[in-house]
Amino acid sequence: MSDERPAITRDEVAHLANLARLAVSEEELDLFAGQLEVILGSVARIGEVAAADIAPTSHAVRLENVLRPDEVVASLPREAVLAAAPSVEDDRFRVPRILGEEE
């Protein structure tokens, strides 16, 4: 089994952490590389199951589109929503800059 394990390198953890927006530390790269490899090695046996012609299940109950009447209903008051925000300016969420210097 162990030779089938996907090898998870420090670089791969760094890539995954970047995709997931996690500024992980150097120590975490080492810790997670080992742990993710063990976990992925354990779940890799999912591939043993012959399931080529099996339909996937995304939800336990069959989902149907649900429509509600197209009526205007009250939403939360602005103050109640902004009260929880980490930073507010002019009755809006204040967001750090989204573009780089050169953009």
């Binding site: 953890v13 995954l16 952490a17 970047n18 995709l19 997931a20 927006r21 996690l22 500024a23 992980v24 530390s25 975490e28 810790l31 997670f32 742990q35 993710l36 063990v38 976990i39 992925l40 354990s42 779940v43 890799a44 046996r45 999912i46 591939g47 043993e48 199951v49 399931a51 099996i54 339909a55 996937p56 299940t57 995304s58 939800h59 336990a60 109950v61 989902l63 649900v66 509600r68 939360l76 109640a80 929503v81 009260a83 929880a84 925000a85 980490p86 930073s87 969420f93 967001v95 750090p96 800059r97 989204i98 573009l99 780089g100």
Partner: protein
């Protein structure tokens, strides 16, 4: 009145309705109990003293006005911190939501309030419900009241410990892969995971949306059934809520308590009986005795096999992390929660990464990264896609098994409560706690855990749970068979929850 904290929910409601005790007296008795023992148990993240007393006063006033009271009016309840409560701090056990005061109530919260149930506070949990021991809470571990050096299970460990320690007769948990059933088993109480879609998910902080389901804890099957009856029903605010669900769990529990299981076929799933090792002998012994008890009540015992259950662990630990990596993307440091490193220079992306690094614990980070990996291009089909197909095969195994049996039984967890710190360094050693509970989670079918004895295999006498699984929307069968077993067990041995060692002088 005798000691109010020792009453069942049914007895408490009767005492309030008849005037033997006021709802305020009941609430105060439980708040006093929390003050006396929660320094040791640490079941709560937030105790809402004023809110509880005010809700209790409202029940007493309604009674004085001659208004009809619901079947659980005046009964105290502990709420898992994953459930959103308006005006009351809600963290989901995470630092990233420390100090968040929600502007709305979850549907579950609304139903509890409407029923006149008195919410005492919010209970501890593994961060974002990821874990089986409550050690992944960002705040503190919760201690098992049976042995304070051990875990109360998880992720709903605060809710299970609170009920076992007589801090509340009822509590609410959520179950994604076993997070109601396993904590119930290891603390000697009853916990039910409803059919997926029976209880609204509106206002539950999402972990794995296709699996998450809220449900009740109690010390007796009858109490747990009454709370389930309050919680379930269609909710237009949850698009996966099943229309027209109206089940009668309390009636099913009352029928079961009469102790007649003639004509009921009970299936034993060979894959969940520890044939390949990994289960404690004490757990297997109590399970075999429980099966004998069911047979003694007239049930027909059927041996059967669900071959794909062996792959439930792998499927779950791909599907749940995949969904969590998507759900937890909402913690972006913009609309609520923590923001770290916003110095006016750093970009949103940098601030987001620093915030999530500081706000999430190790298990949450691991699962987000596993999910990110499983969903990434090139791996998607081999991991997430294959896991979804295995989910189909597990549902087919259930369907075939329910042709031969009305309910399926297994141990709830392969182990009794383990020591705090014993498994934290090995994620896979933690994950195998869920071995028996994962199939019903993946299939969306209901399952209950009922105490079935004590095992001294690892030291002190500790509770073992019996899991009873039923087909989708047949939750009533869980309560009927569970109540029948409980009545027979109690007649022979007395209730397990009464065997708990005393915590200090308070009880």
């Amino acid at each position: 009145m005798a000691n109010l904290i020792e009453l069942s929910a049914v007895e408490t409601a009767a005492a309030v309705a008849s005037g033997q005790a006021s709802a305020v007296e009941v609430a105060q008795a439980h708040l006093d109990r929390i003050a006396a023992v929660d320094g040791d148990v640490k079941a709560f993240l937030h105790v809402d003293t004023e809110g509880a007393l005010s809700a209790a006063r409202a029940v007493d006033e309604a009674k004085a006005d001659g208004q009809p009271l619901g079947p659980l009016a005046g009964v105290p309840l502990a709420m898992k911190d994953v459930v959103v409560t308006k005006g009351i701090p809600t963290t989901s056990g995470s630092k990233i939501l420390q100090g968040w005061i929600p502007p709305y109530d979850a549907t579950v919260t609304r139903l509890v309030k409407q029923a006149g149930i008195v919410m005492l506070g919010k209970t501890n949990m593994d961060e974002f419900a990821m874990g089986s021991s409550t050690e992944n809470s960002a705040y503190h571990p919760t201690h098992n009241p049976w042995d304070l050096s051990r875990v109360p299970g998880g992720s709903s460990g605060g809710s299970s410990a609170a009920v076992a320690a007589f801090q509340a007769p009822l509590s609410i948990g959520t179950d994604t892969g076993g997070s109601i059933r396993q904590p119930a088993a290891v603390t000697g109480i009853v916990g039910h995971k409803p059919t997926y879609g029976a209880v609204s998910r509106y206002g539950l902080i999402a972990f794995s949306s296709s699996l998450d389901q809220a449900g009740p804890f109690g010390r007796t099957v009858a109490d747990t059934a009454l709370l389930f009856d309050v919680l379930h029903g269609h909710d237009p605010l949850d698009s996966t809520s099943i229309p027209n669900v109206r089940l009668a769990a309390a009636a099913a529990a009352a029928e079961g308590a009469a102790g007649d299981l003639r004509g009921v076929r009970v299936g034993i799933v060979s894959e969940l009986t520890g044939a390949n090792g990994g289960y404690q002998q004490g757990v297997l012994d109590r399970f075999r005795e429980a099966v004998d008890t069911l047979a003694g009540l007239g049930a027909e015992i059927v041996d059967l096999s669900c071959p794909h259950f062996d792959y439930a662990l792998a499927a779950y630990y791909l599907i749940a992390p995949s969904e969590c990596s998507s759900n937890l993307a909402r913690f972006d440091s913009v609309r609520y929660g923590l923001r770290v490193g916003d110095d006016g220079q750093r970009s949103l992306e940098e601030v987001m990464s620093l915030t999530r690094e500081a706000g999430f614990g190790a298990e949450v980070k691991r699962r987000i990264m596993i999910g990110t990996y499983a969903l990434s291009s090139g791996y998607y089909e081999a991991y997430y896609g294959q896991a979804q197909k295995v989910r189909t095969l597990i549902s087919r195994d259930f369907a075939a098994a329910f042709e031969q049996a009305d309910v399926l039984v297994s141990p709830t967890s392969p182990f009794v409560a383990f020591g705090i710190g014993e498994r934290v360094d090995d994620p896979m050693a933690m994950y195998v706690n869920d071995l028996c509970t994962l199939p019903a989670s993946l299939a969306g079918t209901p399952a209950i855990s009922v105490p079935c004895g004590l095992s001294s295999e690892t030291g002190p006498a500790l509770p073992v749970g019996l899991q009873i699984m039923a087909p989708a929307l047949a939750d009533e069968r869980c309560f009927r068979v569970g109540a029948a077993f409980e009545a027979a067990y109690n007649a022979a041995n007395g209730p397990i929850f009464k065997a708990i060692p005393s915590l200090g002088d308070a009880r």
